[in-house]
């Protein structure tokens, strides 16, 4: 069995989904011959033809709007946006149509589409290539939001997203596209779209994160373990709907929780998790819930981008703050 990267997990899932269902098509800018600027769709056009792997004109509103139209009429579009920053023109069709089609028509029409795109910073890319807009999509009713953080979760979650009868925004943490290799069996097994993954068990502290920040979070957990602290690490993976039960369970055991995300803090996913803890989870908390986030500023150009994102030290410091409380 091959050891593959996260992005190869994506490609594998795309191929699998296209193999098993003729109505699945891939579309986007440069997804064809070029195989996508990150090579996520590499080889798909030669395998499935240019009627199923479709290079589009440069027009994001069109990609989103036509995906909605196709999805309502029997095609399952898996649209790629080239970078997170270029999905903003798609917000209208996602919010006003994709997330509403089934509800609007009382189930007469539906919108089984996937919008997938590379997200987050850290690869020295130009402006608008490094944002983490998951909170925007997670706030929209009717849209599932998924962020895988390992090759196998990329494979299983993308398969599930494509097969899902409703719209899914699938954000790919590009910084870890090629970070780790893992054995992934191409058996068509999907993963559920509504559960968190506990990456590491612990009793003193819960660290909650997703996407590329699992890298720094796991490193922080290592450091903390060296200090004798037993750390639980949760990969949220499915941002919407959010599996708060797993988080409640963990935080109620450890009594301490730090949430780590790359995105700005204000009205974010980290805030949602902390708010849940402030409600149903509050009785078991022994310390304030800390959020370690990107700053509430524009993601800087690449020279300072790593300073923007939570560092291991920032995570460890926040952890120590909540651990100090007795």
């Amino acid at each position: 069995m091959a050891q593959i990267t996260l992005i190869e997990g994506i490609t594998l899932a795309l191929a699998r989904a296209m193999e098993e269902d003729d109505s699945v098509i891939v579309l986007g800018e440069d997804v064809g011959v070029n195989g996508g600027v990150f090579r996520a769709t590499a080889g798909l056009q030669s395998r499935f033809g240019d009627e199923r792997v479709i290079d589009t004109p440069l027009a994001e509103v069109m990609i989103a709007g036509m995906s909605v139209g196709m999805a309502a009429q029997g095609i399952k579009p898996v649209a790629e946006a080239q970078f997170c920053g270029f999905t903003m023109p798609m917000v209208d069709h996602l919010m006003c149509h994709a997330g509403r089609m089934r509800n609007r028509t009382r189930g007469r029409l539906s919108c089984p589409m996937v919008l997938r795109f590379p997200s987050g910073g850290g690869i020295h890319a130009p402006e608008h290539h490094s944002e983490s807009p998951e909170a925007l999509y997670a706030h929209m009713p009717g849209i599932r939001v998924v962020i895988p953080s390992s090759p196998s979760r990329a494979y299983g979650l993308l398969l599930a997203a494509i097969r899902d009868p409703d719209p899914v925004v699938f954000m790919e943490p590009k910084r870890i596209y090629r970070w780790q290799r893992e054995e992934v069996i191409d058996d068509g097994e999907e993963l559920p779209l509504d559960v968190c993954y506990t990456l590491r068990d612990g009793n003193d502290l819960t660290l909650v994160t997703w996407g590329a920040m699992i890298k720094e979070t796991l490193q922080a957990a290592d450091e903390l373990e060296k200090q004798g602290i037993s750390v639980e690490v949760i990969d949220v993976a499915t941002i919407s709907p959010l599996d708060m039960d797993t988080i409640y369970e963990s935080a109620s055991r450890t009594g301490r929780c730090v949430i780590i995300q790359e995105a700005p803090r204000h009205c974010s996913v980290a805030s949602e998790i902390a708010a849940g803890l402030a409600d149903a989870g509050i009785w078991n908390l022994h310390a304030p819930v800390k959020r370690v986030c990107g700053y509430d500023t524009v993601m800087p150009l690449y020279r300072n981008e790593m300073k923007y994102m939570p560092s291991v030290r920032r995570i460890v410091d926040a952890a120590q703050q909540v651990l100090e409380v007795s």
């Binding site: 009627e51 027009a59 139209g69």
Partner: protein
């Protein structure tokens, strides 16, 4: 050194004058002689206008929410519906009742929608048409997507969408034109130019001679027709739908008509629109000229007109009763807002749904 690399024109087509006479007997399409078909469509135009009146009356008496009238657009709308096959797909904006009635949408469904009940969008027919689309011009891209789906599935079906003179300024419309051009989509884009976008006159949308010429941006065949002339509208639609079905790609048709009503029942057009302009527009309205034409051809008479009037009133009243009965006696429960969000209710919504059941009457219809 200049050389011309591309040349275009926009032609305007009209067959029937405001006086009900054919403008040029030599060049009229054969459908001008198909009195059976014209009669059928005339009836639907009258029915649509009757419906419109009723809907406004319901709104004025507090029984319907904001309603967008189709007064004056009947020829354009009915022609759009009549040119399509059942299996084709219509992506309406919000006032194309004539097209929808032809396709099988029920009047009670139209009333449900404007009456604030989602069930109005669950058309009993045609099951695959798009719902009303309030965010203007977005429907053009949904239609382009539908056309793409038909093309990919190699189904001989056509997608048709409508946009207003106002909506034609939106990028969505132009991206749909571009998409149709890029993939030669089986798509017909109709600009129903009724001269106003609420209070903004056509002249403020842009200073181009026509709106049809937006199609030239994508190299699409682009024509203009008198939108009050059913024969011209239908001839153009037939031609465009056939071309699309035959794999010849998309068409842009601008139908020149006039919004004889307020924009919606929430609007008062007297604030911004001169009475004379409206009076003048009434001289060119679509029903009268078709009736005159049919009468002149012995294809219609006053007796039939009277009978039709009565039939329409009765039919519309039945639809209104059906609507009022449903919303009064079978309103959607609070849980209805959860039940169609996803194919399967996610755990978070299941929780909220259970909570909502504790407040079934709260903040009710106000």
């Amino acid at each position: 050194m200049a050389r011309t690399v591309a040349a275009f024109k926009v032609d305007h087509f009209q067959f029937l004058g405001p006086d009900g006479k054919l403008l040029d007997n030599q060049h009229v399409p054969s459908l001008a002689r198909d009195f059976e078909r014209l009669r059928e469509l005339y009836k639907l135009m009258v029915l649509t206008r009757t419906f419109d009146k009723k809907a406004i009356a319901l709104q004025r008496t507090g029984k319907l929410g904001t309603y967008a009238s189709s007064l004056g657009h009947e020829a354009a709308h009915v022609a759009i519906g009549a040119a399509m096959q059942d299996e084709d797909c219509f992506a309406p904006m919000y006032r194309e009742y004539g097209a929808q009635f032809y396709r099988g949408v029920k009047m009670s469904e139209v009333l449900m929608y404007w009456g604030g009940d989602e069930r109005g969008n669950d058309f009993s027919q045609p099951k695959h048409d798009f719902a009303w689309c309030v965010p203007i011009a977005t429907q053009c891209l949904h239609a382009a997507g539908a056309a793409m789906a038909f093309k990919l599935k190699k189904e001989p079906r056509v997608a048709v969408s409508v946009v207003g003179d106002g909506g034609s300024s939106k990028g969505d419309f132009l991206e749909a034109i571009n998409a149709a051009s890029a993939w030669k989509l089986p798509l017909v884009l109709v600009v129903v130019n009724n001269q106003w976008a609420i209070s903004v006159p056509r002249s403020k949308q842009n200073t181009a001679a026509t709106l049809a010429q937006k199609g030239i941006a994508g190299g699409l065949p682009s024509i203009q027709v008198d939108g009050n002339d059913l024969i011209a509208c239908l001839w153009a639609m037939d031609k465009a739908v056939k071309a699309a079905r035959d794999g010849k790609g998309a068409f842009v048709i601008e139908m020149m008509t006039y919004r004889l009503s307020d924009h919606t029942t929430a609007d008062d057009a007297r604030r911004y629109r001169p009475k004379e302009e409206v009076d003048e527009a009434w001289e060119k309205e679509p029903l009268l000229r078709l009736r005159k034409y049919l009468i002149s051809q012995d294809a219609w008479d006053d007796g039939q007109e009277e009978e039709l009037t009565n039939e329409c009133v009765e039919f519309v009243q039945q639809a209104a009763d059906e609507y009022l009965d449903l919303v009064a006696n079978d309103p959607q429960p609070v849980t209805a807002m959860f039940d169609y969000m996803f194919a399967e209710l996610p755990h978070d919504l299941a929780e909220q749904r259970a909570y909502s059941e504790k407040y079934p009457e709260d903040g009710g219809h106000h």
